[in-house]
């Protein structure tokens, strides 16, 4: 374990190292000059005693992802790098690059100044390398860094055996980087998933300090396990993304999930620290890949596959549409199903549905409406009497699904419309945000009834869903105004009512819907304008959410940096790989119940406090059904 004694100072300035860090001499991974210039590490290396916590030395260049590969010194571990570490580090594509203070050595973490850390932490590579890497790894590592890392790896002398592994790893990473670089055009960072996956595998890893988005240097975890993980990295990388409800920073489960996935996911770069527990957006590259596999996926039913692709490409979006599409696909599945011998219909069908659901999740995380519908379907399957013949069972199931769609979605919408139009008076100015299907139906119906009102459609980037609603309303002759969400405080004084849609309403009355809804509701509430949320009862959920962070969905970060149709707006082009910049594209947000005046459901108009009552009654109904 001589490596353990290697002081590898971590220089990452962004990381606050707390805890005992072994100073471990700076690694043998001397950086090539450029790095050396950066400084740092050498100095501090030898000066620290094992339990001293050196003051961080800040070197601008120091924030680099740790390359674990090279010398992972078994020194103290402090934080484990989170797997989210972008693979940049692993791509050792360009050898010549100077690693900017990559920290290769683990132990050095304690030494802020030390340039090299075996950051690997972030990456799986780092993990293995440094059983005890202490170095924190910058999460967003520009690809260039990877090269450095490989350099570093090569340079790590002290650990002979590790070096070999490191070399192997460097090689792997180089290959991967090359591949990734080729794919990188799409604007997706060519990140090898290994990094994140690997890092997740680090058992000893302690959660990296969520230093704001800037600083994603995580300290690599114990070297020992990481080494092993290094070997697994590649395999893990090939696995697909885990279940969306899973916390992505829980390494072992990520690995397990990856083993089962169908869709290959690549690692996302530039992860935001605060949202690491969510599945990162990697879908852009999946579509062509999946399309080519259409005829090869035996276990997958073509209808389900089709729906999955439609989700991936964004053709179907919106809670109701996605749910209906999925349920119709399931109806096809049931129709084509035949029980294999020696299996019962209940269990086998449930297993099949579960596997299809996993596939759909890989395409796009489930919405609450879909989740509830799936629960319903599984419930119905489980309740099928054993005495039914297969065709009877299939027919029963299909009609159940049909009934669900009709009663809970289509008819529910008519009831909602009926209640909501009573709240629209002549002379009203109604504001709506985005493109909620229920609200659209309300407005159209009110217009048919001859009420005189005008509509204000508020929209926001990057999805610009409001434009679709606008077109449909104008076609029917409704008087509309269109504005961007930045202007809501400007126009709110003339609004009389706000109608919003919801992806789900939670038990504490919180409305979970498209990002931006909370802003609109809060501004309306400040202006004392009543806020009415139209939501079908099947979208209610018994969980409670207090903020928009613990459960959300991440969208395509490139959609933020680019403006569709405006190629001249390219200010961020060179910066997508910058370690200091992360893009965050959230899809949902949570609006607290204080800002909601009324929720209109198929059970009538209720205050937000009555949602748990409806959830309770709703479950009962399901049990009886």
């Amino acid at each position: 374990m001589e490596s353990r004694r290697n002081p590898r100072a971590v220089v990452d300035p962004k990381v606050r190292q707390v805890g005992f860090f072994t100073s471990s001499q700076p690694d043998s991974t001397h950086q090539p000059d450029p790095i050396a210039s950066e400084s740092h590490p050498v100095v501090s290396r030898n000066s620290l005693s094992p339990v001293m916590i050196p003051p961080p030395r800040h070197n601008s260049s120091d924030t680099f992802p740790l390359r674990a590969a090279s010398a992972v010194s078994p020194s103290s571990f402090s934080y484990s790098t989170r797997r989210d570490f972008p693979d940049g580090s692993t791509t050792a594509a360009s050898p010549g690059r100077v690693s900017r203070g990559s920290f290769s050595k683990p132990s050095s973490s304690s030494l802020p100044g030390v340039g090299m850390d075996s950051m690997a932490a972030a990456k799986s590579s780092s993990v293995p390398a440094s059983g005890l890497t202490t170095v924190s790894v910058v999460v967003n590592m520009p690809p260039g860094l990877s090269e450095k890392e490989s350099d570093q790896k090569k340079n790590s002398k002290p650990l002979k055996e590790k070096t070999t592994k490191a070399e192997r790893r460097a090689l792997q990473e180089a290959q991967r980087a090359a591949k990734a670089a080729a794919k990188a055009e799409g604007g997706k960072a060519p990140l090898v998933s290994s990094g994140s996956v690997a890092s997740t595998n680090v058992k000893a890893a302690k959660p990296a300090k969520p230093s704001s988005q800037k600083n994603d240097v995580a300290v690599a975890a114990a070297a020992g396990p990481s080494e092993k993980k290094g070997g697994q990295t590649e395999k893990d990388r090939k696995k697909d993304a885990p279940h969306p409800r899973m916390q992505y920073d829980d390494e072992s489960r990520v690995v397990k999930a990856k083993r089962r996935a169908v869709v290959k996911q690549t690692e996302a770069k530039n992860r935001v620290e605060l949202f690491r527990h969510l599945p990162q957006y990697e879908h852009g590259t999946q579509l062509p890949d999946l399309e080519t596999k259409f005829f090869q996926l035996d276990p997958m039913h073509p209808a389900v596959y089709k729906v999955g692709l439609q989700y991936l490409s964004g053709d179907i979006s919106g809670g109701n549409a996605r749910c209906i599409a999925m349920l119709q696909a399931f109806q096809e599945v049931v129709k084509d199903y035949s029980t294999p011998s020696e299996k019962t219909l209940n269990r086998d069908m449930t297993a099949k549905i579960s596997s299809y659901v996993s596939f759909l999740i890989e395409c796009r995380p489930l919405s609450v409406s879909m989740g509830n519908a799936i629960r319903f379907v599984k419930n119905r399957i489980a309740k099928l009497p054993i005495t039914l013949s297969e065709s009877e069972a299939k027919a029963a199931l299909q009609s159940d699904i049909e009934r669900f769609i009709n009663e809970k979605i289509i008819m529910a919408d008519t009831v909602i419309v009926k209640h909501a139009v009573t709240k629209i008076r002549d002379g009203d100015v109604l504001l709506t945000y985005g493109s909620p299907t229920a609200v659209e139906m309300v407005l159209l119906h009110a217009h048919e009834l001859g009420k005189k009102f005008r509509v204000l459609v508020v929209d926001s980037r990057p999805k610009l869903e409001g434009q679709l609603l606008l077109r449909r309303l104008i076609k029917r002759g409704i008087n509309c105004t269109y504005t961007h969400i930045n202007a809501i405080s400007y126009i709110m004084h003339e609004v009389t009512k706000v109608f919003l849609g919801a992806s789900s309403v939670l038990s504490n009355g919180t409305v979970y819907s498209r990002v931006g809804t909370a802003c609109v509701a809060m501004v309306a509430s400040a202006f004392r304008v009543p806020v009415l949320v139209c939501c079908e009862a099947y979208k209610f959920h018994e969980r409670v959410q207090l903020d928009s962070i613990c459960s959300n969905e991440l969208g395509d970060p490139n959609a933020i940096s680019k403006v569709h149709g405006r190629e001249d707006i390219n200010y961020l082009d060179g910066l997508t790989n910058n370690a200091n910049l992360q893009f965050l594209n959230l899809m949902y947000d949570a609006t607290p119940s204080d800002y909601i005046s009324m929720i209109i459901t198929d059970y009538g108009m209720v205050p937000p406090t009555s949602v748990p009552v409806i959830v309770r009654e709703y479950q009962k109904e399901h049990m009886l059904v």
């Binding site: 008076r425 009512k497 009543p530 059970y603 009538g604 209720v606 205050p607 009552v613 009654e617």
Partner: protein, 341 residues
């Protein structure tokens, strides 16, 4: 059927066998009599009036009792027919005073409560009918006794030496204060004048009879006196689904004042007043206009706000005293959902 129609003795409980046979025979002769203008609907109003003659009975309770009588006197042979009869009777009663929220709410709740029995179809009609009748009577009893129950439940909130502000002449609130004096509590009451109905003066007179120290205020003096007030107790015309209340004009003002000065506002309302309304703002209510006498002549070109009711949103109310218990405003919706689901 009209001729044979009975409602011979509205006070007898249950159908006597001979009556029943007679009615059945008559029914066999006449098929599907014209419903409009039939005996029962006519007698509903009579019944209603009869009940209302009882002193101090709330309109809604009288209506509920009348509807129970309709069931008793009904000659329907099937549940559907019975329901139709009830609906007609209910509509007639509601039309008696279209602005009264409690009357409407009472009738609707009665209908839901009574027809919500399960397994009605599987039994023979008479058992079902007697069960329905039983529920109807029970509902009537509860509503009748609601005031007493509320008075008992609210005693804990009145402590010795407290000052209570009341607004509007609510018999429930009067009952509460009466019971408090009977329990030998010492308190004083500030009573708003309650223009234009002058209800405050009437209430003050009643309280004076009970030897409760009363102070009359003009409506504008509420903020001035709010410092010395410990709690505000008001009645309600109706309790809406959001948990807010509709009450005499001025209640919203007082609730706002009390809320901003951190004084609790209690609303005493029977459970049959829970209505399926959900106003978003003041103008969302059905208007109830009353003439206002300003004492001096007002030229016709000056517009006068004649609305007699306002809506107080639930965030300004602390508690609701109801016969179902002492509840927070959010419970109203829960109760309604359970009843209407």
């Amino acid at each position: 059927m009209t001729e044979v129609n009975p409602n011979p003795n509205p006070n007898h409980n249950g159908i006597v066998a001979s009556d029943w046979i007679e009615q059945a025979q008559a029914a066999a002769l006449l098929r599907y009599p014209v419903i409009a203008g039939r005996g029962p609907s006519f007698s509903v109003i009579e019944e209603f009036n009869k009940w209302r003659q009882q002193a101090d009975l709330a309109e809604a309770v009288a209506a509920i009792r009348a509807l129970a009588a309709v069931i008793r006197a009904s000659e329907a042979r099937t549940m559907m027919e019975l329901e139709i009869e009830l609906k007609k009777a209910s509509a007639t009663l509601k039309s008696w005073d279209t602005t009264s929220i409690s009357l409407r709410a009472g009738c609707d709740l009665f209908m839901r409560y009574v027809t919500r029995t399960s397994a009605l179809e599987s039994e023979d009609f008479n058992t079902a009918k007697s069960r329905v009748l039983g529920r109807a009577e029970k509902f009537g009893e509860i509503s009748y006794k609601a005031r007493k129950i509320i008075a008992v439940l609210s005693q804990d909130f009145i402590f010795d030496g407290c000052t209570i502000l009341v607004h509007g002449f609510s018999r429930v609130v009067l009952e509460i204060l009466k019971t408090a004096t009977q329990n030998k509590k010492l308190f004083r009451v500030l009573c708003t004048e309650g223009r234009p109905d002058k209800t405050g003066v009437l209430l003050a007179k009643e309280l004076a009879k009970l030897d409760v120290p009363v102070k009359l205020l003009i409506d504008s003096a509420v903020a001035y006196s709010m410092d010395e007030v410990d709690m505000v107790i008001v009645g309600a015309d109706g309790v809406v689904e959001s948990g807010g209340v509709i009450n005499m004009m001025g209640t919203y003002q007082i609730a706002l004042l009390a809320h901003s000065m951190n004084k609790p506002v209690y609303v005493a309302a029977e459970s049959y007043k829970f209505a399926r309304l959900y106003p978003l703002d003041q103008k969302d209510l059905a208007p109830a206009l009353r003439p206002i006498d300003f004492g001096v002549h007002v030229p016709p070109k000056i517009e006068v706000e004649r609305s007699a009711r306002d809506y107080t949103p639930p965030q300004y109310l602390t508690m609701l005293f109801t016969d179902l218990g002492v509840l927070t405003p959010s419970v109203v919706s829960d109760e309604l959902i359970q009843l209407y689901l």
